[in-house]
Protein backbone atom coordinates (compact mmCIF):
# COMPACT_ATOMS: atom_id res chain seq x y z
CA UNK A 1 0.00 0.00 0.00
CA UNK A 2 2.87 2.35 0.80
CA UNK A 3 4.41 1.69 -2.61
CA UNK A 4 1.10 2.49 -4.23
CA UNK A 5 0.78 5.78 -2.38
CA UNK A 6 4.35 6.71 -3.24
CA UNK A 7 3.78 5.98 -6.91
CA UNK A 8 0.62 8.08 -6.93
CA UNK A 9 2.51 10.90 -5.23
CA UNK A 10 5.25 10.81 -7.86
CA UNK A 11 2.68 10.83 -10.64
CA UNK A 12 0.91 13.80 -9.03
CA UNK A 13 4.16 15.73 -8.83
CA UNK A 14 4.87 14.98 -12.51
CA UNK A 15 1.42 16.25 -13.50
CA UNK A 16 1.88 19.38 -11.41
CA UNK A 17 5.28 20.08 -12.97
CA UNK A 18 3.79 19.75 -16.45
CA UNK A 19 0.99 22.15 -15.55
CA UNK A 20 3.65 24.42 -14.11
CA UNK A 21 5.54 24.27 -17.40
CA UNK A 22 2.41 25.29 -19.32
CA UNK A 23 1.75 28.11 -16.85
CA UNK A 24 5.38 29.20 -17.08
CA UNK A 25 5.34 29.24 -20.91
CA UNK A 26 2.16 31.30 -20.78
CA UNK A 27 3.71 33.71 -18.34
CA UNK A 28 7.00 34.01 -20.14
CA UNK A 29 6.23 33.73 -23.85
CA UNK A 30 2.68 35.01 -24.36
CA UNK A 31 3.13 38.73 -24.68
CA UNK A 32 6.23 40.47 -23.34
CA UNK A 33 6.20 40.85 -19.56
CA UNK A 34 8.45 43.90 -19.87
CA UNK A 35 5.98 45.69 -22.18
CA UNK A 36 3.27 45.12 -19.64
CA UNK A 37 5.33 46.63 -16.82
CA UNK A 38 6.90 49.76 -18.30
CA UNK A 39 5.55 52.81 -20.09
CA UNK A 40 5.86 53.61 -23.80
CA UNK A 41 8.74 56.03 -23.35
CA UNK A 42 11.08 53.72 -21.43
CA UNK A 43 14.40 53.55 -23.26
CA UNK A 44 15.86 50.32 -24.64
CA UNK A 45 18.69 50.46 -22.07
CA UNK A 46 16.24 50.69 -19.18
CA UNK A 47 14.22 47.82 -20.56
CA UNK A 48 17.35 45.74 -20.93
CA UNK A 49 18.37 46.57 -17.35
CA UNK A 50 14.94 45.56 -16.05
CA UNK A 51 15.11 42.39 -18.12
CA UNK A 52 18.46 41.53 -16.53
CA UNK A 53 17.21 42.40 -13.04
CA UNK A 54 14.11 40.22 -13.37
CA UNK A 55 16.23 37.34 -14.61
CA UNK A 56 14.51 37.21 -17.99
CA UNK A 57 17.89 36.75 -19.69
CA UNK A 58 18.68 33.60 -17.75
CA UNK A 59 18.47 30.24 -19.50
CA UNK A 60 14.87 28.98 -19.67
CA UNK A 61 15.34 26.01 -17.27
CA UNK A 62 16.69 28.34 -14.57
CA UNK A 63 13.78 30.74 -15.11
CA UNK A 64 11.40 27.82 -14.84
CA UNK A 65 13.03 26.77 -11.59
CA UNK A 66 12.61 30.29 -10.17
CA UNK A 67 9.00 30.35 -11.38
CA UNK A 68 8.19 27.12 -9.58
CA UNK A 69 9.95 28.22 -6.38
CA UNK A 70 8.03 31.51 -6.42
CA UNK A 71 4.76 29.79 -7.25
CA UNK A 72 5.19 27.45 -4.30
CA UNK A 73 5.36 30.56 -2.10
CA UNK A 74 2.29 32.06 -3.75
CA UNK A 75 4.27 34.73 -5.62
CA UNK A 76 2.94 35.18 -9.15
CA UNK A 77 3.90 38.78 -9.79
CA UNK A 78 1.49 41.65 -10.46
CA UNK A 79 -1.78 41.50 -12.34
CA UNK A 80 -1.57 43.37 -15.68
CA UNK A 81 -5.10 44.63 -15.13
CA UNK A 82 -5.18 45.92 -11.55
CA UNK A 83 -1.43 45.97 -10.70
CA UNK A 84 -2.16 44.12 -7.46
CA UNK A 85 -0.17 41.03 -6.42
CA UNK A 86 -1.84 38.02 -8.06
CA UNK A 87 -1.45 35.90 -4.93
CA UNK A 88 -3.48 38.38 -2.89
CA UNK A 89 -6.17 38.73 -5.59
CA UNK A 90 -6.69 34.99 -5.56
CA UNK A 91 -6.57 34.64 -1.78
CA UNK A 92 -9.28 37.29 -1.44
CA UNK A 93 -11.58 35.46 -3.79
CA UNK A 94 -10.99 31.81 -3.05
CA UNK A 95 -13.31 31.56 0.00
CA UNK A 96 -16.29 32.57 -2.17
CA UNK A 97 -15.56 29.85 -4.73
CA UNK A 98 -14.87 27.15 -2.16
CA UNK A 99 -18.03 27.87 -0.19
CA UNK A 100 -20.10 27.82 -3.36
CA UNK A 101 -18.55 24.56 -4.58
CA UNK A 102 -18.99 22.98 -1.16
CA UNK A 103 -22.71 23.85 -1.03
CA UNK A 104 -23.20 22.62 -4.60
CA UNK A 105 -21.49 19.31 -3.77
CA UNK A 106 -23.61 18.85 -0.63
CA UNK A 107 -26.76 19.62 -2.62
CA UNK A 108 -25.81 17.15 -5.38
CA UNK A 109 -24.91 14.39 -2.90
CA UNK A 110 -27.87 14.70 -0.57
CA UNK A 111 -30.44 14.99 -3.33
CA UNK A 112 -28.82 12.94 -6.09
CA UNK A 113 -27.93 9.82 -4.11
CA UNK A 114 -31.38 9.31 -2.50
CA UNK A 115 -33.03 9.92 -5.88
CA UNK A 116 -30.71 7.36 -7.44
CA UNK A 117 -31.46 4.81 -4.70
CA UNK A 118 -35.18 5.35 -5.11
CA UNK A 119 -35.18 5.05 -8.90
CA UNK A 120 -32.90 2.03 -8.63
CA UNK A 121 -35.18 0.25 -6.18
CA UNK A 122 -38.45 1.03 -7.95
CA UNK A 123 -37.44 1.43 -11.60
CA UNK A 124 -40.97 0.93 -12.89
CA UNK A 125 -42.73 3.39 -10.59
CA UNK A 126 -44.07 6.46 -12.38
CA UNK A 127 -42.11 8.84 -10.18
CA UNK A 128 -38.88 7.04 -11.11
CA UNK A 129 -39.69 7.53 -14.76
CA UNK A 130 -40.34 11.19 -14.03
CA UNK A 131 -36.96 11.53 -12.29
CA UNK A 132 -35.30 9.85 -15.27
CA UNK A 133 -36.91 12.22 -17.75
CA UNK A 134 -36.01 15.22 -15.63
CA UNK A 135 -32.42 14.03 -15.37
CA UNK A 136 -32.17 13.78 -19.15
CA UNK A 137 -33.29 17.39 -19.41
CA UNK A 138 -30.86 18.30 -16.64
CA UNK A 139 -27.97 16.86 -18.65
CA UNK A 140 -29.06 18.64 -21.82
CA UNK A 141 -29.46 22.06 -20.21
CA UNK A 142 -26.21 24.03 -20.05
CA UNK A 143 -25.30 25.30 -16.58
CA UNK A 144 -25.70 28.96 -17.43
CA UNK A 145 -29.19 28.41 -18.79
CA UNK A 146 -30.31 26.75 -15.54
CA UNK A 147 -28.94 29.76 -13.68
CA UNK A 148 -30.74 32.25 -15.88
CA UNK A 149 -34.04 30.40 -15.59
CA UNK A 150 -33.70 30.24 -11.79
CA UNK A 151 -32.96 33.97 -11.67
CA UNK A 152 -35.94 34.69 -13.89
CA UNK A 153 -38.34 32.68 -11.74
CA UNK A 154 -37.06 33.24 -8.19
CA UNK A 155 -35.49 36.69 -8.43
CA UNK A 156 -37.32 38.56 -11.18
CA UNK A 157 -40.84 37.10 -11.00
CA UNK A 158 -41.23 35.90 -7.42
CA UNK A 159 -38.66 38.29 -5.87
CA UNK A 160 -37.79 35.69 -3.24
CA UNK A 161 -34.04 35.33 -3.58
CA UNK A 162 -31.18 37.63 -4.62
CA UNK A 163 -29.84 37.20 -8.14
CA UNK A 164 -26.28 38.44 -7.70
CA UNK A 165 -23.43 38.74 -5.21
CA UNK A 166 -22.78 37.00 -1.89
CA UNK A 167 -24.95 39.11 0.41
CA UNK A 168 -23.33 40.16 3.70
CA UNK A 169 -20.15 38.34 4.62
CA UNK A 170 -18.29 37.98 7.88
CA UNK A 171 -14.50 37.93 8.05
CA UNK A 172 -12.90 35.13 10.04
CA UNK A 173 -9.20 35.95 9.87
CA UNK A 174 -8.58 36.34 6.11
CA UNK A 175 -11.48 34.06 5.20
CA UNK A 176 -14.72 35.82 4.30
CA UNK A 177 -17.72 33.60 4.90
CA UNK A 178 -21.35 33.92 3.84
CA UNK A 179 -22.49 31.11 6.14
CA UNK A 180 -23.04 33.32 9.18
CA UNK A 181 -25.50 35.88 7.87
CA UNK A 182 -29.06 35.42 6.70
CA UNK A 183 -28.50 37.32 3.44
CA UNK A 184 -25.29 35.37 2.83
CA UNK A 185 -27.14 32.06 3.15
CA UNK A 186 -29.98 33.26 0.93
CA UNK A 187 -27.49 34.35 -1.71
CA UNK A 188 -25.98 30.85 -1.72
CA UNK A 189 -29.20 29.01 -2.64
CA UNK A 190 -29.61 29.75 -6.36
CA UNK A 191 -25.91 29.53 -7.32
CA UNK A 192 -25.48 26.24 -5.44
CA UNK A 193 -28.48 24.66 -7.18
CA UNK A 194 -27.22 25.90 -10.55
CA UNK A 195 -23.72 24.60 -10.01
CA UNK A 196 -24.80 21.28 -8.47
CA UNK A 197 -27.53 20.39 -10.96
CA UNK A 198 -25.33 18.60 -13.47
CA UNK A 199 -23.54 16.62 -10.74
CA UNK A 200 -26.91 15.76 -9.22
CA UNK A 201 -28.19 14.18 -12.43
CA UNK A 202 -24.89 12.42 -12.95
CA UNK A 203 -24.89 10.96 -9.42
CA UNK A 204 -28.54 9.97 -9.68
CA UNK A 205 -27.99 8.06 -12.92
CA UNK A 206 -24.84 6.43 -11.58
CA UNK A 207 -26.38 5.29 -8.29
CA UNK A 208 -29.47 4.08 -10.16
CA UNK A 209 -27.56 1.85 -12.57
CA UNK A 210 -25.30 0.56 -9.78
CA UNK A 211 -28.30 -0.22 -7.59
CA UNK A 212 -30.05 -2.05 -10.42
CA UNK A 213 -26.97 -4.18 -10.86
CA UNK A 214 -26.37 -4.87 -7.17
CA UNK A 215 -30.00 -5.76 -6.45
CA UNK A 216 -29.69 -8.70 -8.81
CA UNK A 217 -26.69 -10.13 -6.94
CA UNK A 218 -26.95 -13.39 -4.98
CA UNK A 219 -26.04 -11.91 -1.63
CA UNK A 220 -29.10 -9.68 -1.80
CA UNK A 221 -31.30 -12.72 -2.36
CA UNK A 222 -29.66 -14.45 0.61
CA UNK A 223 -30.08 -11.39 2.77
CA UNK A 224 -33.73 -11.44 1.87
CA UNK A 225 -33.92 -15.19 2.65
CA UNK A 226 -32.38 -14.48 6.03
CA UNK A 227 -35.40 -12.31 6.69
CA UNK A 228 -33.62 -8.99 6.96
CA UNK A 229 -35.76 -5.88 6.70
CA UNK A 230 -35.91 -4.06 3.41
CA UNK A 231 -34.24 -1.12 5.05
CA UNK A 232 -31.24 -3.16 6.15
CA UNK A 233 -30.93 -4.75 2.71
CA UNK A 234 -31.31 -1.54 0.72
CA UNK A 235 -28.96 0.60 2.74
CA UNK A 236 -26.72 -1.82 4.64
CA UNK A 237 -26.05 -4.22 1.79
CA UNK A 238 -26.95 -2.66 -1.54
CA UNK A 239 -26.05 0.99 -1.17
CA UNK A 240 -22.74 0.18 0.54
CA UNK A 241 -21.60 -1.73 -2.50
CA UNK A 242 -22.38 1.09 -4.88
CA UNK A 243 -20.14 3.47 -2.97
CA UNK A 244 -16.81 2.95 -4.75
CA UNK A 245 -17.89 4.36 -8.12
CA UNK A 246 -19.89 7.05 -6.31
CA UNK A 247 -16.77 8.18 -4.48
CA UNK A 248 -14.74 8.25 -7.70
CA UNK A 249 -17.31 10.32 -9.52
CA UNK A 250 -17.93 12.64 -6.57
CA UNK A 251 -14.21 13.22 -6.21
CA UNK A 252 -13.59 13.88 -9.87
CA UNK A 253 -16.71 16.01 -10.07
CA UNK A 254 -15.54 18.10 -7.12
CA UNK A 255 -12.77 19.36 -9.36
CA UNK A 256 -15.23 19.91 -12.18
CA UNK A 257 -17.42 21.88 -9.77
CA UNK A 258 -14.61 24.28 -9.01
CA UNK A 259 -13.87 24.68 -12.72
CA UNK A 260 -17.52 25.07 -13.69
CA UNK A 261 -17.90 27.65 -10.95
CA UNK A 262 -16.49 29.96 -13.65
CA UNK A 263 -19.84 29.84 -15.43
CA UNK A 264 -22.04 30.02 -12.35
CA UNK A 265 -20.01 32.88 -10.90
CA UNK A 266 -20.46 34.84 -14.12
CA UNK A 267 -24.23 34.31 -14.13
CA UNK A 268 -24.64 35.33 -10.49
CA UNK A 269 -21.88 37.96 -10.35
CA UNK A 270 -20.32 35.84 -7.58
CA UNK A 271 -16.99 37.36 -6.51
CA UNK A 272 -14.90 34.18 -6.72
CA UNK A 273 -11.77 33.04 -8.55
CA UNK A 274 -13.79 31.88 -11.58
CA UNK A 275 -15.00 35.39 -12.22
CA UNK A 276 -11.44 36.61 -11.76
CA UNK A 277 -10.28 34.10 -14.37
CA UNK A 278 -12.91 35.16 -16.92
CA UNK A 279 -11.91 38.79 -16.46
CA UNK A 280 -8.27 37.83 -16.92
CA UNK A 281 -9.10 35.97 -20.15
CA UNK A 282 -11.04 38.96 -21.46
CA UNK A 283 -8.22 41.37 -20.62
CA UNK A 284 -5.46 38.85 -21.46
CA UNK A 285 -4.11 39.23 -17.94
CA UNK A 286 -1.51 36.50 -18.25
CA UNK A 287 -0.15 36.32 -14.66
CA UNK A 288 -3.64 35.72 -13.28
CA UNK A 289 -4.34 33.09 -15.94
CA UNK A 290 -1.10 31.29 -15.13
CA UNK A 291 -1.76 31.39 -11.39
CA UNK A 292 -5.34 30.17 -11.78
CA UNK A 293 -4.14 27.31 -13.97
CA UNK A 294 -1.64 26.21 -11.34
CA UNK A 295 -4.20 26.54 -8.56
CA UNK A 296 -6.74 24.38 -10.41
CA UNK A 297 -4.01 21.89 -11.28
CA UNK A 298 -3.05 21.63 -7.62
CA UNK A 299 -6.67 21.18 -6.54
CA UNK A 300 -7.31 18.46 -9.12
CA UNK A 301 -4.17 16.57 -8.17
CA UNK A 302 -4.98 16.78 -4.46
CA UNK A 303 -8.55 15.61 -5.06
CA UNK A 304 -7.42 12.67 -7.20
CA UNK A 305 -4.93 11.69 -4.54
CA UNK A 306 -7.56 11.91 -1.81
CA UNK A 307 -9.98 9.81 -3.86
CA UNK A 308 -7.34 7.12 -4.35
CA UNK A 309 -6.65 7.01 -0.63
CA UNK A 310 -10.36 6.88 0.18
CA UNK A 311 -10.69 3.63 -1.78
CA UNK A 312 -8.62 1.88 0.83
CA UNK A 313 -10.92 3.07 3.56
CA UNK A 314 -14.11 2.12 1.74
CA UNK A 315 -13.22 -1.11 -0.02
CA UNK A 316 -11.43 -3.71 2.14
CA UNK A 317 -10.79 -5.90 -0.92
CA UNK A 318 -8.27 -3.35 -2.19
CA UNK A 319 -6.30 -3.35 1.04
CA UNK A 320 -5.46 -7.03 0.72
CA UNK A 321 -4.40 -6.69 -2.93
CA UNK A 322 -2.20 -3.70 -2.29
CA UNK A 323 -4.24 -1.59 -4.64
CA UNK A 324 -2.93 -3.17 -7.83
CA UNK A 325 -6.41 -3.92 -9.17
CA UNK A 326 -7.39 -0.29 -8.90
CA UNK A 327 -4.27 0.95 -10.66
CA UNK A 328 -4.81 -1.41 -13.57
CA UNK A 329 -8.37 -0.25 -13.88
CA UNK A 330 -7.51 3.40 -13.94
Amino acid sequence: MLAFILRRLLQSIAVLLTVGLVAFSLFRYVGDPINAMVGQDTSMEDREALREKLGLNDPAPIQFFHFIVNAAQGKFGLSYRTSEPVGRLIAERIPATLELSFCAAVFALFVGVPMGVYTGLYPRHWSSRLFQAVSLIGISLPTFLIGILLILVFAVWLRLLPSFGRGDTVMIGWWSTGFLTWSGLKALILPSITLGMFQLTLLMRLVRSEMLEVMRADYIKFARARGLTNRAINFGHALKNTLVPVITVTGLQLGALIAFAIVTETVFAWPGVGQLFIQSVQFSDVPVMAAYLLLIGLLFVLINLAVDLLYFVVDPRLRSQGGSARVAGH
Binding site: V15, T18, V19, L26, V30, G31, L136, I137, I139, S140, L141, P142, T143, F144, L145, I148, L149, I151, L152, V156, W157, S163, G255, A256, A259, F260, I262, V263, T266, V267, F277, I278, S280, V281, Q282, S284, V286, M289, L293, I296, G297, F300, V301, N304
Partner: protein, 284 residues
Protein backbone atom coordinates in the same frame (compact mmCIF):
# COMPACT_ATOMS: atom_id res chain seq x y z
CA UNK B 1 -38.64 8.87 -28.56
CA UNK B 2 -35.90 8.30 -31.11
CA UNK B 3 -38.20 9.11 -34.01
CA UNK B 4 -39.25 12.34 -32.34
CA UNK B 5 -35.61 13.21 -31.71
CA UNK B 6 -34.67 12.43 -35.30
CA UNK B 7 -37.54 14.50 -36.68
CA UNK B 8 -36.73 17.36 -34.30
CA UNK B 9 -33.04 17.31 -35.24
CA UNK B 10 -33.75 17.26 -38.96
CA UNK B 11 -36.29 20.04 -38.55
CA UNK B 12 -33.97 22.24 -36.51
CA UNK B 13 -31.07 21.67 -38.89
CA UNK B 14 -33.24 22.37 -41.94
CA UNK B 15 -34.73 25.56 -40.49
CA UNK B 16 -31.30 26.72 -39.35
CA UNK B 17 -29.65 26.26 -42.71
CA UNK B 18 -32.55 27.74 -44.64
CA UNK B 19 -32.66 30.76 -42.33
CA UNK B 20 -31.70 33.29 -45.06
CA UNK B 21 -34.80 32.16 -46.96
CA UNK B 22 -37.20 31.44 -44.11
CA UNK B 23 -36.40 34.13 -41.54
CA UNK B 24 -38.91 37.00 -41.63
CA UNK B 25 -36.15 39.59 -41.01
CA UNK B 26 -32.40 39.93 -41.49
CA UNK B 27 -31.65 40.77 -37.87
CA UNK B 28 -28.02 41.78 -38.22
CA UNK B 29 -28.34 44.20 -41.08
CA UNK B 30 -28.45 47.58 -39.26
CA UNK B 31 -30.29 49.19 -42.20
CA UNK B 32 -33.44 47.14 -41.60
CA UNK B 33 -33.62 47.81 -37.85
CA UNK B 34 -35.91 50.35 -36.28
CA UNK B 35 -35.51 51.29 -32.61
CA UNK B 36 -39.25 51.99 -32.38
CA UNK B 37 -39.76 48.24 -32.73
CA UNK B 38 -37.54 47.65 -29.65
CA UNK B 39 -38.61 45.38 -26.76
CA UNK B 40 -41.90 44.25 -28.26
CA UNK B 41 -43.29 41.24 -26.36
CA UNK B 42 -44.09 38.01 -28.23
CA UNK B 43 -47.17 38.44 -30.40
CA UNK B 44 -48.64 35.08 -29.55
CA UNK B 45 -48.66 35.79 -25.82
CA UNK B 46 -49.41 39.47 -25.51
CA UNK B 47 -51.83 41.90 -27.09
CA UNK B 48 -49.07 44.54 -27.22
CA UNK B 49 -47.18 42.38 -29.70
CA UNK B 50 -46.83 42.81 -33.42
CA UNK B 51 -47.36 39.78 -35.66
CA UNK B 52 -44.38 40.71 -37.83
CA UNK B 53 -42.31 39.77 -34.74
CA UNK B 54 -43.88 36.48 -33.58
CA UNK B 55 -41.41 36.01 -30.70
CA UNK B 56 -40.96 39.70 -29.90
CA UNK B 57 -37.91 41.92 -30.38
CA UNK B 58 -34.81 42.80 -28.35
CA UNK B 59 -33.78 46.26 -27.19
CA UNK B 60 -32.35 47.11 -30.61
CA UNK B 61 -35.56 46.17 -32.39
CA UNK B 62 -34.17 42.92 -33.80
CA UNK B 63 -36.65 40.13 -34.40
CA UNK B 64 -36.01 37.36 -31.84
CA UNK B 65 -37.25 34.57 -34.11
CA UNK B 66 -34.94 35.55 -36.97
CA UNK B 67 -31.99 35.96 -34.57
CA UNK B 68 -32.64 32.48 -33.24
CA UNK B 69 -32.70 30.97 -36.73
CA UNK B 70 -29.42 32.59 -37.72
CA UNK B 71 -27.94 31.82 -34.30
CA UNK B 72 -28.86 28.14 -34.48
CA UNK B 73 -27.11 27.92 -37.83
CA UNK B 74 -23.92 29.33 -36.31
CA UNK B 75 -24.14 27.12 -33.21
CA UNK B 76 -24.59 24.01 -35.36
CA UNK B 77 -21.78 24.98 -37.70
CA UNK B 78 -19.36 25.63 -34.85
CA UNK B 79 -20.41 22.38 -33.15
CA UNK B 80 -19.88 20.29 -36.28
CA UNK B 81 -16.62 21.98 -37.22
CA UNK B 82 -15.10 21.60 -33.77
CA UNK B 83 -16.09 17.93 -33.59
CA UNK B 84 -14.38 17.41 -36.96
CA UNK B 85 -11.25 19.22 -35.75
CA UNK B 86 -11.16 17.15 -32.56
CA UNK B 87 -11.78 13.95 -34.51
CA UNK B 88 -9.07 14.54 -37.12
CA UNK B 89 -6.55 15.56 -34.46
CA UNK B 90 -7.48 12.71 -32.12
CA UNK B 91 -7.52 10.05 -34.85
CA UNK B 92 -4.19 11.24 -36.22
CA UNK B 93 -2.44 11.27 -32.87
CA UNK B 94 -4.13 8.02 -31.81
CA UNK B 95 -3.00 6.24 -34.98
CA UNK B 96 0.58 7.43 -34.63
CA UNK B 97 0.60 6.64 -30.92
CA UNK B 98 -0.82 3.15 -31.31
CA UNK B 99 1.07 2.18 -34.45
CA UNK B 100 4.56 3.29 -33.50
CA UNK B 101 4.38 2.92 -29.71
CA UNK B 102 7.53 3.69 -27.73
CA UNK B 103 8.56 7.25 -26.96
CA UNK B 104 6.05 8.95 -29.28
CA UNK B 105 3.26 6.98 -27.68
CA UNK B 106 4.46 7.84 -24.17
CA UNK B 107 4.72 11.55 -24.95
CA UNK B 108 1.30 11.79 -26.61
CA UNK B 109 -0.44 9.81 -23.90
CA UNK B 110 1.14 11.80 -21.06
CA UNK B 111 -0.02 15.03 -22.72
CA UNK B 112 -3.46 13.46 -22.97
CA UNK B 113 -3.37 12.51 -19.27
CA UNK B 114 -2.49 16.01 -18.18
CA UNK B 115 -5.11 17.57 -20.43
CA UNK B 116 -7.70 15.16 -19.10
CA UNK B 117 -7.01 16.50 -15.61
CA UNK B 118 -8.78 19.69 -16.67
CA UNK B 119 -12.38 20.02 -17.84
CA UNK B 120 -12.68 20.77 -21.55
CA UNK B 121 -14.28 24.16 -20.97
CA UNK B 122 -11.24 25.31 -19.02
CA UNK B 123 -8.87 24.21 -21.79
CA UNK B 124 -10.99 26.01 -24.38
CA UNK B 125 -11.05 29.17 -22.25
CA UNK B 126 -7.30 29.03 -21.84
CA UNK B 127 -6.65 28.59 -25.57
CA UNK B 128 -8.97 31.49 -26.29
CA UNK B 129 -7.18 33.59 -23.68
CA UNK B 130 -3.79 32.82 -25.19
CA UNK B 131 -4.96 33.78 -28.68
CA UNK B 132 -6.48 36.97 -27.29
CA UNK B 133 -3.23 38.06 -25.69
CA UNK B 134 -1.22 37.49 -28.87
CA UNK B 135 -3.44 39.39 -31.33
CA UNK B 136 -5.39 42.66 -31.21
CA UNK B 137 -9.05 42.81 -30.20
CA UNK B 138 -10.26 43.85 -33.65
CA UNK B 139 -8.36 41.09 -35.36
CA UNK B 140 -9.76 38.67 -32.81
CA UNK B 141 -13.35 39.54 -33.65
CA UNK B 142 -12.64 38.82 -37.31
CA UNK B 143 -11.26 35.36 -36.67
CA UNK B 144 -13.37 34.58 -33.58
CA UNK B 145 -15.16 31.78 -35.40
CA UNK B 146 -11.90 29.95 -36.19
CA UNK B 147 -10.46 30.59 -32.75
CA UNK B 148 -13.46 29.06 -31.06
CA UNK B 149 -13.60 26.05 -33.37
CA UNK B 150 -9.91 25.49 -32.75
CA UNK B 151 -10.24 25.94 -29.00
CA UNK B 152 -13.13 23.48 -28.67
CA UNK B 153 -11.48 21.06 -31.10
CA UNK B 154 -8.23 21.10 -29.13
CA UNK B 155 -10.05 20.52 -25.86
CA UNK B 156 -11.89 17.39 -27.03
CA UNK B 157 -9.24 15.40 -28.93
CA UNK B 158 -8.10 13.19 -26.03
CA UNK B 159 -11.05 10.80 -26.05
CA UNK B 160 -10.64 10.05 -29.75
CA UNK B 161 -6.90 9.57 -29.44
CA UNK B 162 -7.27 7.13 -26.55
CA UNK B 163 -9.97 5.11 -28.28
CA UNK B 164 -8.13 4.92 -31.60
CA UNK B 165 -4.85 4.08 -29.89
CA UNK B 166 -6.47 1.19 -28.05
CA UNK B 167 -8.02 -0.24 -31.21
CA UNK B 168 -4.86 0.24 -33.24
CA UNK B 169 -2.79 -1.66 -30.71
CA UNK B 170 -5.12 -4.60 -31.21
CA UNK B 171 -5.31 -4.27 -34.98
CA UNK B 172 -1.62 -3.80 -35.72
CA UNK B 173 -0.72 -7.34 -34.74
CA UNK B 174 -3.33 -8.87 -36.97
CA UNK B 175 -2.30 -10.69 -40.12
CA UNK B 176 -3.59 -8.20 -42.65
CA UNK B 177 -1.37 -5.50 -41.21
CA UNK B 178 1.64 -7.80 -41.17
CA UNK B 179 0.87 -8.75 -44.76
CA UNK B 180 0.72 -5.11 -45.76
CA UNK B 181 4.05 -4.55 -44.05
CA UNK B 182 5.61 -7.53 -45.83
CA UNK B 183 4.67 -6.25 -49.26
CA UNK B 184 6.50 -3.06 -48.33
CA UNK B 185 3.74 -0.49 -47.94
CA UNK B 186 4.74 2.69 -46.12
CA UNK B 187 3.52 3.07 -42.50
CA UNK B 188 1.38 6.06 -43.53
CA UNK B 189 -0.42 4.02 -46.19
CA UNK B 190 -0.94 1.10 -43.81
CA UNK B 191 -2.35 3.37 -41.12
CA UNK B 192 -4.71 5.31 -43.35
CA UNK B 193 -5.83 2.64 -45.80
CA UNK B 194 -5.80 -0.49 -43.69
CA UNK B 195 -5.94 0.24 -39.98
CA UNK B 196 -8.15 3.35 -39.98
CA UNK B 197 -11.25 1.79 -41.57
CA UNK B 198 -11.21 -0.89 -38.87
CA UNK B 199 -11.19 1.52 -35.93
CA UNK B 200 -13.77 4.10 -37.04
CA UNK B 201 -16.87 2.56 -35.40
CA UNK B 202 -16.26 3.66 -31.80
CA UNK B 203 -14.93 6.99 -33.03
CA UNK B 204 -18.22 7.82 -34.74
CA UNK B 205 -20.09 7.01 -31.56
CA UNK B 206 -17.91 9.40 -29.54
CA UNK B 207 -18.38 12.03 -32.23
CA UNK B 208 -22.17 11.98 -32.03
CA UNK B 209 -22.11 12.11 -28.26
CA UNK B 210 -19.60 14.94 -28.35
CA UNK B 211 -21.64 17.02 -30.78
CA UNK B 212 -24.10 17.98 -28.06
CA UNK B 213 -21.20 18.72 -25.72
CA UNK B 214 -19.47 20.86 -28.35
CA UNK B 215 -22.64 22.88 -28.92
CA UNK B 216 -22.99 23.43 -25.17
CA UNK B 217 -19.33 24.42 -24.87
CA UNK B 218 -19.64 26.96 -27.67
CA UNK B 219 -22.80 28.40 -26.12
CA UNK B 220 -21.10 28.60 -22.73
CA UNK B 221 -18.03 30.35 -24.13
CA UNK B 222 -20.21 32.80 -26.05
CA UNK B 223 -22.29 33.36 -22.94
CA UNK B 224 -19.14 34.14 -20.95
CA UNK B 225 -18.31 36.76 -23.56
CA UNK B 226 -15.23 35.03 -24.95
CA UNK B 227 -16.92 33.27 -27.88
CA UNK B 228 -18.57 34.75 -30.92
CA UNK B 229 -18.96 38.57 -30.97
CA UNK B 230 -22.41 40.27 -30.89
CA UNK B 231 -22.07 41.06 -34.61
CA UNK B 232 -22.21 37.33 -35.36
CA UNK B 233 -24.38 36.00 -32.54
CA UNK B 234 -24.76 32.29 -31.86
CA UNK B 235 -27.43 31.04 -29.47
CA UNK B 236 -25.04 31.54 -26.54
CA UNK B 237 -24.38 35.16 -27.51
CA UNK B 238 -28.14 35.78 -27.84
CA UNK B 239 -28.71 34.38 -24.35
CA UNK B 240 -25.98 36.64 -22.97
CA UNK B 241 -27.44 39.73 -24.65
CA UNK B 242 -30.89 38.83 -23.32
CA UNK B 243 -29.49 38.18 -19.85
CA UNK B 244 -28.32 41.80 -19.67
CA UNK B 245 -31.92 43.05 -19.79
CA UNK B 246 -33.44 40.13 -17.87
CA UNK B 247 -33.75 42.08 -14.61
CA UNK B 248 -36.31 44.43 -16.19
CA UNK B 249 -38.61 41.50 -16.91
CA UNK B 250 -38.07 41.24 -20.69
CA UNK B 251 -37.79 37.49 -20.48
CA UNK B 252 -38.49 36.50 -24.08
CA UNK B 253 -35.12 37.72 -25.39
CA UNK B 254 -33.38 35.09 -23.22
CA UNK B 255 -35.92 32.33 -22.84
CA UNK B 256 -36.60 31.60 -26.53
CA UNK B 257 -32.95 31.19 -27.57
CA UNK B 258 -32.41 29.19 -24.36
CA UNK B 259 -35.30 26.86 -25.14
CA UNK B 260 -33.99 26.42 -28.69
CA UNK B 261 -30.55 25.55 -27.38
CA UNK B 262 -31.97 23.04 -24.90
CA UNK B 263 -34.17 21.42 -27.56
CA UNK B 264 -31.27 21.21 -29.99
CA UNK B 265 -28.92 19.59 -27.48
CA UNK B 266 -31.61 17.21 -26.20
CA UNK B 267 -32.43 16.07 -29.74
CA UNK B 268 -28.77 15.61 -30.64
CA UNK B 269 -28.13 13.68 -27.41
CA UNK B 270 -31.08 11.34 -27.98
CA UNK B 271 -29.85 10.66 -31.50
CA UNK B 272 -26.36 10.04 -30.13
CA UNK B 273 -27.72 7.53 -27.60
CA UNK B 274 -29.62 5.74 -30.32
CA UNK B 275 -26.58 5.62 -32.59
CA UNK B 276 -24.44 4.28 -29.75
CA UNK B 277 -26.87 1.42 -29.16
CA UNK B 278 -27.24 0.77 -32.89
CA UNK B 279 -23.48 0.63 -33.47
CA UNK B 280 -22.67 -1.38 -30.36
CA UNK B 281 -22.50 -5.03 -31.41
CA UNK B 282 -22.84 -6.18 -27.79
CA UNK B 283 -26.38 -4.80 -27.60
CA UNK B 284 -27.53 -6.15 -30.94
Amino acid sequence: MTVTAAVATVLIVAIAFLSPVLAPHTPFDPATLNLIDGLKPPAMLSSDGDWTFPLGTDDQGRDVLSSIMYGTRLSLAVGFASVVVAMVLGIGLGLVSGYFGGTIDAVIMRIADVQLTFPAILVALLIDGIVRSTISVQRHDEIALFVIVGAIGLSFWVQYARTVRGSVMVEKNKEYVQAARVIGLSPLLIMVRHVLPNVTGPVLVIATINLGLAIITEATLSFLGVGLPPTEPSLGTLIRLGNEVLQSGDWWITVFPGATLAALVLAVNLLGDWLRDALNPKLR
